[in-house]
């Protein structure tokens, strides 16, 4: 009989943090497969660097903080952060870029704020932003896929081994006053669809996201709200001004939208927690992504949008406390 007083319940379900984290890693497999198909196995090298740095950094910080190594290293949260970050970078990015990003994400964005469960900002996005602002060149050079599935639609830059992403082209065109139609493939669907590479990646992310939904690892609210928010605003803008704005379909399937909707915005620690709050949070991310893409200084606004909404999450929670039974 236990000498220490212990409260009910005396029964527990199968959920565990490790299970959640490893399900997320599993959900990244479609994306990794897409990367390998498009650009060969160099992405695995990058993932190795990212994962290795994450584990070493986490171990070092845990030792410094005198926390139990075995438990926290095994939970997989550091790996998730690192791999997500690595998959946001071009597969030919030099390893030191990813190392810098992961170090910042784990040491500063995660542990300096208190560690697992206490961080205010999404660590992967914080790391990505540091790398984006510090090394913008390395991040914008996406290699030409090999083999090229939709080669007719890809316009090459002066360096024929790299190409700009559709969002890059959108921004450049906007700055140059050109219309959006030149940036992408025309399609009979309303709005325009981005080129095959980007769409394929988006679908790979979405497939992983579906796995997360089906296993109950994430709730449907945040992904739906992000996609709805982005879709609505980009659709509205595209409808009002089709020349200056690409439509909903373009934005939903390009850049980091799907990754954001299913993997990044749903990071439980930094997202809003109340049901209504999560919808507001997701809508806010969608709106901000669009605002930054359409009028901001960076081609893709996912990282900024997520971090900005992270700041608002506690306030959103404060105002959306659900009505209790009987009220």
């Amino acid at each position: 009989m236990s000498a220490t007083l212990q409260s009910s319940p005396h029964l527990h379900g199968n959920a565990s943090v490790t299970r959640v984290m490893y399900t997320v890693l599993l959900a990244l497999v479609p994306v990794v497969a897409a990367y390998i198909w498009l650009w060969g196995s160099q992405v695995l090298w990058l993932l190795l660097w990212a994962g290795g740095t994450a584990l070493v950094a986490e171990a070092a910080v845990l030792v410094l903080r005198k926390l139990p190594l075995k438990v926290f290293l095994r939970d997989g949260s550091a790996l998730v952060t690192a791999l997500l970050l690595a998959l946001c970078l071009p597969p030919t990015a030099p390893p030191w870029v990813v190392v810098v990003g992961v170090l910042f994400a784990i040491v500063v964005a995660k542990h300096l704020y208190g560690g697992l469960g206490y961080n205010l900002f999404n660590p992967a996005m914080a790391g990505y932003l540091v790398v984006l602002v510090a090394f913008p060149a390395q991040l914008s050079l996406w290699p030409v896929p090999d083999p090229q599935p939709y080669s007719a639609e890809i316009s090459l830059t002066s360096d024929s081994t790299t190409m700009a992403t559709p969002l890059d082209k959108l921004r450049t065109n906007r700055l140059q006053g050109k219309s959006t139609a030149e940036a992408m493939t025309a399609s009979p669907l309303f709005g325009v669809f981005p080129n095959g590479v980007t769409a394929m990646l988006a679908l790979a992310w979405a497939a992983g996201g579906l796995l997360l939904l089906v296993t109950g690892t994430i709730h449907w609210r945040i992904p739906l709200a992000v996609l709805l928010g982005l879709g609505l605003f980009s659709g509205l803008a595209g409808w009002l001004n089709p020349v200056g704005h690409a439509g909903a379909l373009f934005h939903l399937f390009s850049g980091g939208t799907m990754a954001a909707a299913f993997f990044i915005a749903t990071d439980p620690v930094s997202a809003a927690t109340t049901p209504r709050g999560q919808i507001i949070y997701g809508l806010g991310i969608g709106l901000l992504i669009y605002l930054i893409r359409a009028w901001g200084g960076y081609p893709d606004g996912v990282a900024f949008a997520v971090l900005l909404m992270n700041i608002c999450a506690p306030l959103i929670d404060y105002f959306t406390v659900p009505r209790a039974y009987g009220e």
């Binding site: 220490t4 409260s7 005198k66 139990p68 438990v71 208190g114």
Partner: protein, 194 residues
């Protein structure tokens, strides 16, 4: 030049609004001594050096006493006072006494009591019932545990006993692991079964 004029005008308007709000929407609040008195435990023991909690509260609000002189209130009261007054919290002043682990109540041994009423006069909250040459007894619910009755008793028949159950009934203890650190460092011992 225009900018300067605009800014000055803005400042004056906003300042006026704020001043109006301070007058129109003023909230009447307790004077500081009342607020401090609400925080104190009302033991009325005098260990702080003042004859009761109210005089101590008045002294604190007048700046004549420090916030760490109340042993029955303990560190919790000191912290609350510090927050109320916007000052740094500090440890209990050992000159005023030590924080007791368990609250106590007085108990009169009726076999020895001689009915002298000295304790009745000493009790600051009239928690002792009795009369001259008649049995005295302590109303345990009203006793604050201030100890003031123990001294005057000529036959030393009053003892301070720890209370059976705190006010409000039995309390669930805090869950074990969390009392050590906010990051559940006790996981090490808890995870040994793995």
């Amino acid at each position: 030049m225009v900018a300067v004029v605009i800014l000055v005008a803005l400042a004056m308007v906003i300042g006026g609004v704020l001043g109006l709000a301070a007058v129109r929407f003023r909230v009447e609040s307790d004077p500081l001594a009342d607020k401090i008195d609400k925080v104190l435990p009302q033991t009325q023991c005098g260990q702080c050096g003042f004859p009761g909690c109210r005089p101590y509260a008045t002294a604190i609000s007048a700046g004549e006493a420090d916030i760490n002189q109340c042993p029955p209130g303990g560190q919790a009261t000191i912290d609350e006072l510090a927050e109320l007054l916007g000052v740094e919290s500090k440890p209990l002043n050992p000159e005023n006494g030590a924080e007791s682990e368990r609250p106590t109540v007085a108990w009169i041994d009726e076999a020895i009591c001689i009915g002298c009423t000295k304790c009745i006069q000493a009790c600051p909250v009239d928690a002792i019932v009795g009369a001259n040459k008649l049995m005295h007894t302590v109303i345990a619910d009203e006793c604050t545990g201030c100890d003031l009755c123990v001294e005057p008793c000529p036959v030393d028949c009053i003892y301070m006993l720890p209370v059976d159950e705190l006010a409000g009934g039995w309390q669930w203890p805090q869950p074990q692991a969390d009392t050590r650190s906010t990051n559940n460092a006790a996981v090490e011992t808890a995870g040994n079964g793995q």
